[in-house]
């Protein structure tokens, strides 16, 4: 069973979102998503300072047999990306919620976070998909 931490918010496209104490947003992909994709071999991250609207594709994670777009969960400006993934994309497999984060952004409207799924709703979503 995939790990779905309670304190995070989720998207239907399997990104997780964490609101940091300074109001910034950290984004990654869920444990369930990394299981589906398999061994990561490459990550293409957005450029810092780029701005995205929620739902835009802004990054790509690549395993041997699949490449998956990452959609920006919240509108905002990218402030930093996880440079360590360039040399160790497998971190997404081993530690998706912590050192395997993808990028951070400053949200345009932090209220958008509330519209995302909570852990319970996300668990339901993946249960349905498995069906």
């Amino acid at each position: 069973m995939s790990n779905v931490p309670n304190e995070l918010k989720y998207t239907k496209t399997h990104e997780w979102v964490r609101t940091e104490s300074d109001g910034s947003i950290t984004v990654g992909i869920t444990d369930h998503a990394q299981e589906l994709l398999g061994d990561m071999v490459f990550v293409e991250l957005p450029e810092t300072d780029a701005t995205y609207t929620s739902g835009d594709d802004c990054a790509v994670v690549e395993s041997v047999k699949a490449a998956s777009d990452i959609y920006c969960p919240i509108s905002g400006e990218i402030t930093s990306v996880n440079e360590d993934l360039a040399d160790a994309p497998e971190t997404i497999n081993t530690d998706p919620y912590d050192t395997g984060w993808l990028f951070k952004l400053t949200p345009e409207d932090s209220g958008e976070v509330d519209e995302l799924l909570d852990a319970e709703a996300y668990l339901e979503l993946i249960a349905e998909e498995d069906h």
Partner: protein, 505 residues
């Protein structure tokens, strides 16, 4: 004898590892004329490229040995779904390699090319009849290029017929979710957005879903029929009507033409444009991944937009009966050229020879026996206890078996079955395509395989199932008997090593 060594050399060495500085292959050395160079020093190469320095025998042995590490149609049954791996008759190759064809410069005047042009013109005529289209251009160099040409023609047609005089507003191409990956990739290359539509549980296109997505924004739909699920879409006329009524055109992906050769013409189904894969239906060699050839056939309304060159035949005047290239001058609305010359001419000659050998009866029989073999193998495998993806349907020239149950119960996947088949001397069927069927094997036996071969394959599949029942781990580690064991794809992608570098001493 150590398996690592054969005839004194390591069996897995690269050609570069046979190399010795200063060893040359004297028979290929022309006179050394370096002093005659008019090229200034600054433009000359400073260090020679690291190419092999080997004798002719070294090279012959090395590449003969390498060839022996391949599966091929000549050596194995190769039931790769969607790829039509049928026998490649030798006459096609021998005749395509005749000096007259091989030595001819592509830009030589037409009077020195009447022989090859006659062959190509007749091939155009044959393909027109087989597809039920008005005209054929042979120039696309592969199926994917044929697809590009087809969708580009659809675009050119809409632009030319836009009453406002501007470019057409039609912006979408519809593809079923089971389509070949080249279809959506092609639509994107032509500047279209892709709309996917689902497939019904019986394998036909969801016509209701189609009705919802068609509209004034629809440029066309890309279809394969028989579909990639190995069944004939029974509502094709209705689909054609819906798309045409919305002003869109129908594109036929000819990957599965072998199933209906001489039985059904795509033109009669309502398609406006089709590409054919001659390396499938017309038995030109796959060559370890090409060259292919992807001629396109068009209906009357797309004829002005065909890719050039096309072979024309003069029917009146002093040159009556002679052949010439139709170019920009003849087809000013053409989408243009796709290759420097006339596509993959040598492949086209092979297909022409094959078509002559088959003749009209042979073509119909091709579809007959391709279909017989697929339905027979499907029945045998069903009897052996395997699950079919679409058990209620007739197979066409191919069918889909799903190992979803085995994956769940025993943890063995389609890939495990596929790699274990290799140990028994069978090439694996296509795995994990179409993407919408879990743990699938897409199996296409082709008409050139005998009943004995199909029986042997079915027996081996049964044996592998028994192995999976007894010891699933055995399958996980397969293959055991090939030049290499299962390869680490993750390492290959993470630690890119795309060329040889000599070890530093």
């Amino acid at each position: 004898m150590s398996p690592e060594f054969t005839s004194g050399i390591k069996s897995n060495q690269l050609i570069f590892e046979h190399s010795a500085t200063g060893r040359t292959n004297g028979a290929q050395m022309v006179e050394d004329v370096a002093s005659a160079s008019e090229i200034p020093e600054g433009l000359l190469r400073k260090t020679p490229p690291m190419l092999p320095e080997v004798s002719e025998m070294d090279a012959v042995r090395h590449y003969t040995r390498l060839s022996q590490k391949n599966f091929s149609i000549d050596t194995q049954f190769y039931p790769l779904g969607s790829c039509t791996m049928k026998h490649n008759p030798r006459a096609c190759n021998t005749l395509a390699l005749l000096p007259g064809f091989l030595g001819r410069h592509p830009l030589a005047p037409e009077r020195f090319g009447q022989g090859v042009m006659a062959c190509l013109w007749e091939l155009q005529e044959i393909l027109k009849d087989v597809t039920g289209m008005t005209a054929v251009s042979l120039s696309p160099m592969a199926g994917a290029q044929g697809e590009f040409a087809g969708v580009a023609m659809i675009r050119a047609y809409h632009d030319a017929n836009n009453t406002s005089g501007n470019k057409s507003e039609r912006s979408e191409i519809i593809c079923p979710d089971a389509a070949h990956g080249t279809n959506p990739a092609t639509a994107t290359m032509c500047g279209y957005k892709v709309r996917e539509i689902p497939t019904n549980t019986d394998g036909d296109i969801d016509v209701e879903a189609l009705k919802e997505v068609v509209g004034p924004q629809t440029a066309g739909i890309m279809l394969t029929n028989p579909s990639t699920l190995g069944v004939f879409d029974r509502r094709i006329k209705e689909i054609a009507q819906i798309v045409h009524d919305a002003g869109g055109l129908l594109y036929y992906d000819g990957a599965n033409l072998n199933a209906i050769l001489g039985k059904v013409k795509p033109g009669d189904m309502g398609f406006d444009v089709i590409h054919m894969n001659l390396h499938k239906t017309f038995s030109t060699p796959h060559g370890g991944g090409g060259p292919g050839a992807g001629p396109v056939g068009v209906s009357e309304r797309l004829k002005p937009f065909m890719p050039i060159p096309v072979v024309g035949k003069d029917v009146v005047g002093k040159d009556e009966g002679s052949f010439r290239w139709l170019t920009e001058t003849d087809l000013p609305q053409s989408i243009g050229r796709l290759s420097a010359h006339m596509g993959n001419t040598g492949v086209l000659i092979r297909a022409y020879v094959y078509a002559l050998l088959l003749g009209r009866e042979g073509m119909v029989r091709t579809a007959d026996y391709a279909t017989l073999n697929a339905n027979y193998l499907m029945a045998r495998l069903a009897q052996a206890g395997f699950d079919m993806a679409l058990p209620s349907r007739r197979a066409t020239h191919e069918f889909i078996l799903t190992l979803k149950r085995q994956a769940k119960d025993q943890g063995v996947t389609a890939m495990d079955f596929a790699t274990r088949l290799l140990d028994y001397g069978f090439h694996a069927p296509t795995t994990y395509f179409p993407l919408i069927v879990p743990e699938c094997l897409l199996i296409e036996p082709t008409e050139t395989e005998s009943k004995e071969t199909l029986d042997a394959f079915a027996d081996v599949m049964k044996t592998i199932q028994e192995e999976a029942d007894a010891n699933p781990e055995l399958l996980k580690d397969a293959p055991y008997t090939l030049p290499v064991r299962r390869l680490d794809d993750v390492k290959a992608a993470r630690e890119l090593n795309l060329k040889y570098s000599p070890a530093k001493d």
